[in-house]
């Protein structure tokens, strides 16, 4: 088979243990980072200089020094107000926008701040392993969009990491379970991390991990649970609204809430002190109070899980287990909510804080040293381009297995149009304005032709990391433009959060807008066509026919201005009938001239 004429890799590269290459797995989390590596068949957790595996994703600037992770807790006592938390969340907003962080004199972008963490992780790995480490696999939330993925990869590259692969966090976790148990079956992965919520449904067959569907919320995580609980504590014991506290007090209270949340998993009532503004406050807090404050968010995650299951095409009884990932899945209330909704075997015996990194280390080792296993991920959101009238035409639908290449032909809309703008979008809605812009470029130099004649081929290519590149070619002139999507975008954060929810809710509303836009496009195109054939019209039609046609054109234009779809369709039909005999005669003339041989090639 011609498809297989690629030389098989790895073969002939028989490596002994000592020659094996090292490639580390990095779980770059919103709240914590975890690095690990596979050595001699085992996954080893990498520790920092304090012997800690879990490295907080926190950065602090002090004079000209940078402190990262546990260095802050161990070395710094004052000025903690300037700590930078949850930098990963800012990727979803805009990874390149520079702003002031803490007391640092220069403005930095989220990519630059993240790269400081990656630099520290690289140092940790190198001193732990006693050798230079350059290759890594980095995990990302499954629901992360294209821009954020690119930004994570760039942050790591900036400090000399070669990122061999971005792996989705739930997939990575399943890899850790699947490999160690040699399982076969369908699994639900529920990943509630510090800052993001992700679910994926995977099918495991003979070492192949195929993602069937994925979903989540990039703004929902354990940090939100802590904050909700802190709100409750503030209201019950400080008689204050959480938002009225000083920044430092907020941090103190949220940390306390986090600690209490963990303790309340073992006890039903706690008596504690809270020291705030040098005052000691007695707290008597119950498990019930905690559960009430976080219940709503947890219910939301269950709802998202149900939708993702439906999209996988599987029934609940076809699932073989429910894998829990992320520290927040230790909550008793969450476990009981999950068990109430899904009657499935729960997998939680690999530490939920470490499982993602473990899977990444296994995959990293497989990439550089060869493996029988394979991860087939999907793209979490649809990709497409803007077409006439502010509509998004989807080229790659969400939950499509990657890598994937798709091509689609587009054409011009105006007479003698020589340039076309390719506006690349990600999202689920019909109208462009509700989706996220990934980038745009202009393909110019198109040969001037009547509308609808040029054939512009747009090719979308998504690699195994979920990164997109787009190229457009004018088929008639072979002019080509390529773009790896990585420039300008403007979006409101709320957009991403609600994109899919709203696409379901508003599909009927979108449809109305879409139908109107389509009718306007049809009508405008028809009018332009007729106007461009003005001399032919005068030659072929009688004065009576001509008057009729012109008056319909005027009436149709008025309806377009009024945004009246009914009217547009009505006059479009009338205009169509009025021009019928003209079209017939014109086609006949064309055929005649074509037969004579003149201009045949250019038709």
């Amino acid at each position: 088979m011609s498809l297989l004429q690629i030389e098989e890799p790895i073969k002939g590269e028989q490596t002994t243990e000592s020659e094996k290459k090292f490639c580390v797995g990095i779980d770059f989390g919103t709240t914590n980072c975890v690095c690990s590596v596979k050595i001699d068949g085992n996954v080893i957790m990498i520790t920092d200089e304090f012997g800690e595996v879990i490295i907080p994703s926190v950065v602090l600037f002090r004079d000209s020094d940078v402190f990262v992770g546990n260095q802050i807790k161990k070395n710094i006592k004052n000025g903690l107000d300037n700590r930078i938390f949850s930098i990963k969340r800012e990727f979803v907003e805009n990874p390149e926008a520079k702003k002031n962080y803490g007391n640092y004199k220069q403005k930095l972008s989220p990519i630059e701040v993240s790269s400081l963490i990656f630099k520290y992780l690289k140092n940790c790995c190198e001193s732990f392993l006693g050798k230079e480490i350059s290759k890594c696999v980095v995990t990302v939330p499954a629901y992360f969009d294209e821009r954020s993925r690119f930004a994570i990869k760039q942050s790591a590259s900036l400090v000399g990491f070669e990122v061999l692969r971005l792996v989705n966090e739930p997939t990575s976790a399943a890899y850790a379970y699947g490999l160690e148990r040699k399982t076969r079956g369908n699994y639900f992965v529920y990943d509630l991390g510090g800052g993001t919520f992700d679910v994926s449904i995977l099918k495991l067959t003979d070492g192949v991990f195929k993602v069937l569907s994925t979903g989540g919320d990039p703004f929902l995580g354990g940090d939100d649970l802590d904050e909700l609980f802190a709100n409750k504590i503030a209201a019950d014991f400080l008689n204050l609204r959480f938002k009225d506290l000083s920044k430092n007090n907020k941090v103190i209270l949220v940390r306390k809430a986090k600690l209490l949340k963990e303790k309340l998993q073992k006890e039903t009532v706690l008596k504690e002190f809270l020291e705030i503004d040098k005052k000691q406050i007695n707290l008597e807090i119950t498990e019930k109070a905690l559960n009430t404050s976080i219940s709503e968010i947890l219910d939301k995650t269950i709802l998202i899980s149900t939708v993702v299951l439906e999209e996988s095409g599987l029934k609940e009884n076809e699932l073989d287990g429910f894998i829990l990932v992320g520290g927040s899945t230790r909550l008793k209330i969450l476990l009981s909510k999950i068990q109430e909704r899904f009657q499935l075997k729960i997998f939680s015996d690999i530490d939920p804080d470490l499982v993602v990194s473990k899977g990444a280390a296994l995959h990293a080792d497989g990439l550089v040293n060869g493996t029988e296993n394979l991860l087939l991920d999907v793209t979490p959101l649809s990709l497409g381009i803007e077409t006439a009238g502010g509509l998004m035409e989807k080229i790659i639908h969400r939950n499509t297995t990657i890598p994937i290449v798709k091509e689609q032909e587009f054409t011009t809309y105006e007479e003698a149009q020589t340039a076309i703008k390719i506006h690349i979008l990600q999202g689920e809605r019909e109208m462009v304005k509700y989706n996220r812009t990934l980038g745009e470029f202009v393909l110019d130099g198109i040969e001037p032709k009547p509308p609808g004649i040029p054939r512009i081929n747009v090719r979308f290519m998504v690699d195994a990391n979920g990164l997109l590149s787009v190229s457009a070619t004018d088929k008639s002139s072979a002019i080509q433009k390529e773009l790896e999507v990585k420039t300008t975008f403007n979006l409101e954060i709320e957009q991403m959060r609600t994109m899919i929810e709203e696409s379901i809710k508003n599909s009927s509303l979108d449809m109305q807008e879409r139908l109107l836009e389509e009718s306007k496009i049809d009508a405008t195109r028809f009018i332009n066509e007729l106007q461009s054939m003005d001399s032919d019209l005068k030659e072929i039609c009688s004065t009576e026919e001509l008057n009729k046609i012109n008056s319909y054109i005027q009436l149709l234009s008025k309806e377009i201005q009024k945004d009246n779809r009914e009217g547009i369709l009505d006059f479009l039909k009338k205009l169509d009938v009025a021009t019928q005999s003209f079209s017939e005669k014109r086609v006949k003339q064309k055929i005649k001239s074509a037969l004579i041989g003149k201009n045949y090639d250019k038709l």
Binding site: I6, M461, A464
Partner: protein
């Protein structure tokens, strides 16, 4: 290369889906870009294109409507874009079902309708298979359009039909 050739399959509508899946995994294990991680960038790109073709071909064959269309194309019976479908009988049947769907007012009715349409699709797919066996390609083409309408309707009902009580 067409999707059938890619998987070494005969030009038959009826295929063994679990065998196809195994074959798909076996091929992906060899040509996925992850297996070319230490190769040159160009080789990596080729692997990516091969893996992508394989994904496209697999998806085409798994779905019965796209499989039928692909088979029609292989047999020289490709539908042209300019062609419009106007089989009144089929359109009426689908429109009737649509009307039923619009008047649903409880979950039980919805489930019943979904079952009914699923059954109709199943019967039509069997019929389609026979058309292919007997090389009645024009009939197969018409029936494929009908099945695709029914599938779309089914999807719309599942996603959009809601009732207030």
């Amino acid at each position: 290369m067409d999707s059938f050739k890619l998987f070494n399959l005969n030009y038959d509508f009826s295929i063994n889906l679990s065998k196809l899946e195994d074959e798909y995994y076996a091929l992906q294990k060899v040509l996925h870009p992850d297996k070319f991680i230490s190769s040159t960038e160009k080789e990596l790109l080729y692997a990516q294109i091969h893996a992508s073709n394989l994904n496209n071909a697999y998806n085409t064959l798994v779905n019965q409507v796209s499989r039928s269309n692909e088979l029609l194309k292989c047999k020289g019976e490709q539908s042209k874009e300019s062609e419009t479908f106007n089989d009144l009988e089929v359109l009426t049947e689908v429109l009737d079902l649509q009307e039923v769907a619009e008047n649903i007012n409880c979950q039980k009715q919805k489930d019943n309708l979904i079952n009914e349409i699923n059954q109709t699709i199943k019967e039509n797919v069997e019929k389609l298979n026979n058309y292919f066996i007997e090389e009645q390609l024009l009939d197969a083409k018409k029936l494929t359009v009908k099945i695709s309408y029914l599938e779309k309707l089914l999807k719309d009902i599942k996603n959009n039909v809601t009732f207030t009580n």
